[in-house]
Symmetry: C2
């Protein structure tokens, strides 16, 4: 018996074939065709799955189902709600994809929530039941797992931790969501670069970043690791915002483990330790038993979690 785990992103679709035991047997990546209001996306996914079924000589009755992570809010019954970066409106993606696949069971979830599920199942949160995943990438996302299950939220918006109010007063920047001062404005890769530029403008400190006006988020971490004071201050500010936000999350859900993922988490233990330090400074004592871990599945977390939607 096998299943498919699909991570539907704004740029590519990753389609994984998994054994019943959760082993990734094979994976394929196709572009996400967003033209024509994203109307080709599901057909492209079906073509790839059907090709794989033929290619691997899989009997249809041996397919347990297809799990899929969607980059937007999704309700418990599988209805996507205006997935703007795919061009999608409102429809039931589980029913539609299942019909297109000739009745194979389809389960869908929000991509960040599904990635959290992947990390708790086979990644950085393995062996735990209550987890919060914080994804630091182009945006800041997340997922909350309680008792081994994703908390989807009443409107599919649980785990949208990038939009926790985080910065107040004049320093608050406008977020992609339209609000001011969301965690994402300081915790995303672009937010980190912008905040560091502001810090450079305010400060007279020497910094290697001054010689590299087009510096990236990675450059900031590299400089900080090399002992650059200003870069370190920027990383400390980031860690402070994240630690405070995670302390707030912990006061709500009291997880066993906080897993930090996304491209920014490639900064590794250097960043993780600073976040944990800030967390311990701001967290309620009864929530301090939490373990901090790095995500380990990288870009495959979404596929794993999507497969777990079927296998669990």
């Amino acid at each position: 018996m096998v299943c498919f785990g699909i991570d539907l992103g704004g740029t590519t679709v990753k389609i994984g074939l998994f054994s019943e035991e959760g082993k990734l047997l094979d994976s394929t990546e196709i572009p996400t065709r967003k033209e024509d209001e994203g109307s080709h996306i599901l057909a492209d996914i079906c073509d790839t799955i059907n090709l794989k079924i033929t290619d691997k000589k899989i009997a249809r009755e041996d397919i347990l189902g297809v799990g899929i992570g969607i980059p937007g809010p999704i309700t418990k019954d599988g209805t996507v709600l205006n997935c703007v970066n795919l061009g999608w409106g409102i429809f039931n993606v589980e029913e539609k994809l299942s019909a297109m696949l000739g009745g194979i069971k389809v389960k869908a979830g929000n991509d960040a929530n599904v990635a959290a599920l992947g990390e708790i199942w086979q990644g950085g949160g393995r062996g735990f039941e209550d987890l919060v995943l914080v994804t630091l990438g182009t945006g800041v996302g997340g997922g909350v797992i309680i008792g081994g299950k994703i908390i989807p939220g009443s409107n599919g918006a649980a785990g949208e931790i990038g939009h926790i109010p985080s910065v107040f007063g004049d320093d608050a920047e406008v977020c992609g969501c339209g609000k001011k001062g969301c965690l994402e404005t300081v915790g995303s890769a672009t937010g980190i670069v912008r905040e560091t530029k502001k810090l450079l403008d305010r400060s007279v400190k020497e910094s290697v970043l001054r010689d590299n006006p087009g510096f990236s988020c990675k450059d900031i971490f590299d400089a900080a690791k090399e002992g650059d004071e200003l870069a370190n201050e920027a990383v400390n500010n980031l860690a402070k915002s994240l630690g405070v936000a995670i302390a707030g999350i912990a006061a709500v859900t009291n997880p066993q483990v906080v897993v930090i993922g996304g491209g920014v988490s490639k900064a590794g233990k250097f960043l993780l330790d600073k976040i944990e330090e800030s967390f311990n400074e701001h967290a309620f004592h009864a929530t301090k038993n939490v373990k901090f871990a790095l995500a380990t599945l990288g870009n495959d977390a979404g596929m794993y979690g999507a497969a777990d939607l079927i296998l669990d």
Copy 2:
């Protein structure tokens, strides 16, 4: 068939007798004897229950169980962790009370979480599945219900929303928990009075509160309702802090309904509307579908929720 629902507080113990259908048939209140490290508390509860069983001629086999809300962190298996305001250490309260009651089933939960369960079952959150209760009283507590179930947290500390980091910088006061700037420092009855006093000191505005140096939290709301500008500013500051914190909670769990309870919530719709306004200003769009409601069970919420631990 009947059950008992017990709300164990720092001052009194409320013991309710409930029908299978969740109707409160009878209730008794006894003092909480905290002397001798709280060692009389469970015996006093047993005496009251046994008296009630005799008095009401209840057959032991008709007792479905005893639910109890505890004022402190409690793990999933029923172990209380240093319930400081009862003088208790660490022990399994479910096993102990059950043994003392001759084997009757006992289920325990954190008092704020249990009150949240009561409110969703028979109170302000009736008819919903995903709820956050915010209790504004001597402290600020709360409870998170997802899919009709309490989220206890890995260490019994979920829903400890009074300890969300809320005030930063010089204005942050020290909380009872030892941290600075917890939501409780501005959202509890004492916190509201202290912040209003600070506002009076900073301002030259006329206010009826200046003629009443020993003003209470209720006096502030009464003055605000009468149009006192400074009192209104104090209430708006409170509502802002609460709205921001609830926006953060909503980005984590995305509830259907937020129920505001505790003594401070007697300020009623006047306060509720201001909190909702602040929430809508700070909340992520996909979480804005939330309904705001006042708790309706008052001091009985804990007994109801404790009964629901057994009846659900």
